[in-house]
């Protein structure tokens, strides 16, 4: 936000300078511009673009893991995938996980950030506490909560006086992974919110106070609108990350598909097809389906943002 205001302030100066320097800039830029992006583009081409194209090609073949002369099978893999109940199940698990995690994390991160922002003492301590779990590897978080949720020896049932078979009952297994994820990843969104809160100019609140606005009004009319952009970002990042969930879920289920296949996620199913049953062609088709899905979510977000901006201005 400050960047845009800085630009507006500096704009007259730029137009003046631009006359003299436009030719300089063009010459300098044209010579070297390509070299600045070249190293990144090389890596990007090798490890993003090429695998994407290769995946597209393999998805039309019956390739196995050894990679020798795959036969062309047309759309068979895609047809099979659309009729594969396990694929739909796994997609459902990833979607269910996303639906639970995203709203919870957004609200929780906001509340934690408000708390940490408004306590005047020991700011670093609250930051550390809420962010700490995010510093653990996903597998460690998974193992830790696998054990906390362990019905006999785990702390969760002990502390709350429950007798819930968290990890072995299909109605709780994915929920346990959701709770683990909340604890493990909320710190990241919390930090984004905290930074955004610190960026709200203090004079807005002072002016509102002079006008007699109470704490609730200040929150509804200043804080929440000023946080609209960051909320959009948090939700978008969380949706993309949650759809791709894999690590903590498989760790909590000892790399299995969970009780009655109830926790197998889309990524897990793709990897099983690729590395366990060695059907690289089929796994590639699912990867492409997944890519299209993620792209659709991202495009939907861009479209929503554009509409909102047009409506707002």
């Amino acid at each position: 936000m400050t960047t845009t205001s800085a630009e507006t302030v500096l704009r007259p100066a730029r137009t003046r300078a631009a006359v003299g320097s436009a030719t300089v800039r063009r010459k300098q830029g044209f010579q070297h511009g390509g070299w600045f992006v070249a190293p990144f583009l090389l890596l990007f081409a090798l490890f993003v673009i090429w695998p994407l194209l290769r995946g597209l090609y393999l998805s039309f073949t019956d390739a196995n893991i050894s990679g020798d002369s795959p036969g062309f099978v047309g759309l068979d893999n895609y047809r099979e995938a659309l009729h594969d109940p396990l694929m739909w199940d796994s997609l459902g698990h990833s979607a269910y996980f996303t639906l639970l995690v995203v709203p919870c994390i957004t609200v929780l991160a906001f509340l934690l950030a408000m708390l940490a922002h408004h306590i005047e003492r020991g700011k670093w301590l609250w930051r550390l506490c809420f962010f700490l779990p995010f510093l653990l590897p996903s597998t460690v978080a998974g193992n830790l909560w696998q054990w906390l949720f362990n019905p006999g020896t785990g702390m969760v049932n002990y502390v709350f006086g429950l007798d819930t078979p968290w990890l072995t009952d299909k109605s709780y297994a994915l929920l346990a992974a959701v709770l683990t994820t909340l604890w493990w990843t909320v710190g990241f969104s919390f930090l984004l919110y905290l930074a955004a809160l610190q960026g709200i100019p203090a004079h807005l609140y002072e002016a509102a106070k002079l006008d007699g606005a109470n704490a609730w009004h200040r929150m509804v009319h200043i804080t929440l609108p000023m946080l609209r952009n960051i909320t959009g970002l948090v939700i978008a990042l969380q949706i993309l990350a949650s759809l791709q969930v894999f690590d903590q879920v498989v760790v909590m289920q000892d790399f299995g598909p969970g009780p009655e296949n109830s926790t197998r996620t889309f990524v897990q199913y793709t990897l099983e097809q690729g590395f366990t049953t060695y059907r690289v062609g089929y796994a590639s088709a699912m990867s492409i389906i997944f890519f299209v899905l993620i792209a659709a979510v991202a495009l939907a977000r861009m479209w929503l943002l554009r509409n909102r901006e047009e409506g707002g201005r």
């Binding site: 830029g29 990144f40 003492r121």
Partner: protein, 287 residues
């Protein structure tokens, strides 16, 4: 964004108003919830294996013992994994910082043929990760003969479109006048980049560096796909796959988990001010 620093500093010593007392107590309670699982892990790692699985369970060890920690270093490959994690994360962070700073600047401030189209392609890359394209990425790396090598673990993590995008946004916000003065004095692009842009971007670069390091140190999925050799595994992998495969020894597993988390916790404790400032500065929060 500029108000952040004075605000944070100004809050040093103030009176304990009733609302501050309530908020602080609430903060303590919430922090306990966040820290309890870690405390539980620590206490478990100080129990014997038999005491760890006793029913009913209890918080504090009845017999404090460093047995699990000792066993971890004696029997496990933990030091190996630690070194592997360090090598991989340091390499990934270095390469990502160099490559994405250059690319972010190139896209934000220089002109070259096809820039718009390339930028579009990079934005599309935001949606591709090893989770999305795991199997084709693996076969690509296999083709290059990099399975079970450091190269195979490191290089595919070095093309994060997200970091380029963050730095691109940041560089766009730097006033052009700063550069143009230098151009008129006869400095070239590279000179401007290294003497003006890089020093100005230190907070953003450190945020990008720290987040890359965290992501790489904690990355499980890609190393899991690309290595089978226990000698080459990183911490999260070794702990999840090797330690689990013996049949879980909880005390030892908790000790290993804490070991894996410790380096980042230390990094965060020392750099947290820069991290928050960096998040604010990169414009991540302001978008």
């Amino acid at each position: 964004m500029t108000t952040a620093a004075p605000q944070a500093r100004g809050n040093g010593r103030r009176a304990w108003t009733p609302s501050q007392i309530v908020l602080t107590l609430l903060g303590v309670a919430v922090s306990m919830v966040f820290l309890a699982p870690l405390a539980w892990a620590l206490f478990t790692s100080l129990k014997s294996e038999t005491e760890a699985v006793e029913v009913p369970t209890h918080w504090l060890p009845e017999h404090w013992t460093g047995q699990a920690w000792k066993a971890l270093f004696e029997t496990g490959n933990i030091t190996n994994w630690f070194v592997n994690s360090l090598v991989v994360s340091v390499c990934v962070t270095t390469v990502v910082l160099v490559v994405s700073a250059l690319a972010g600047y190139g896209f934000a401030r220089t002109e070259f043929r096809g820039k718009g189209a390339l930028m579009g392609v990079v934005m599309a890359g935001l949606m591709v990760s090893p989770a999305v394209l795991g199997v084709p990425l693996f076969t690509t790396v296999q083709q290059m003969g990099m399975v079970d090598t450091y190269w195979g673990m490191i290089l595919p993590q070095c093309a994060p479109a997200a970091m380029v995008y963050i730095l691109y946004k940041f560089f766009q916000g730097i006033p052009r006048e700063l550069e143009e003065a230098a151009f008129i004095d006869g400095a070239g692009r590279w000179r401007v980049f290294f003497t003006i842009i890089v020093p100005l971007s230190r907070p953003s670069l450190s945020a990008v560096g720290i987040f890359t390091f965290i992501a790489s140190w904690n990355n499980f999925l890609w190393p899991y796909m690309v290595t089978n050799n226990p000698d080459l595994m990183t911490m999260p992998n070794g702990i999840a796959t090797v330690m689990n495969s013996y049949g879980i020894q909880w005390a030892q597993l908790m000790a290993g988990g804490l070991m894996a988390g410790l380096p980042l916790i230390v990094v965060f404790v020392f750099f947290q001010r820069q991290i928050v400032a960096g998040v604010a500065h990169t414009g991540l929060a302001g978008q």
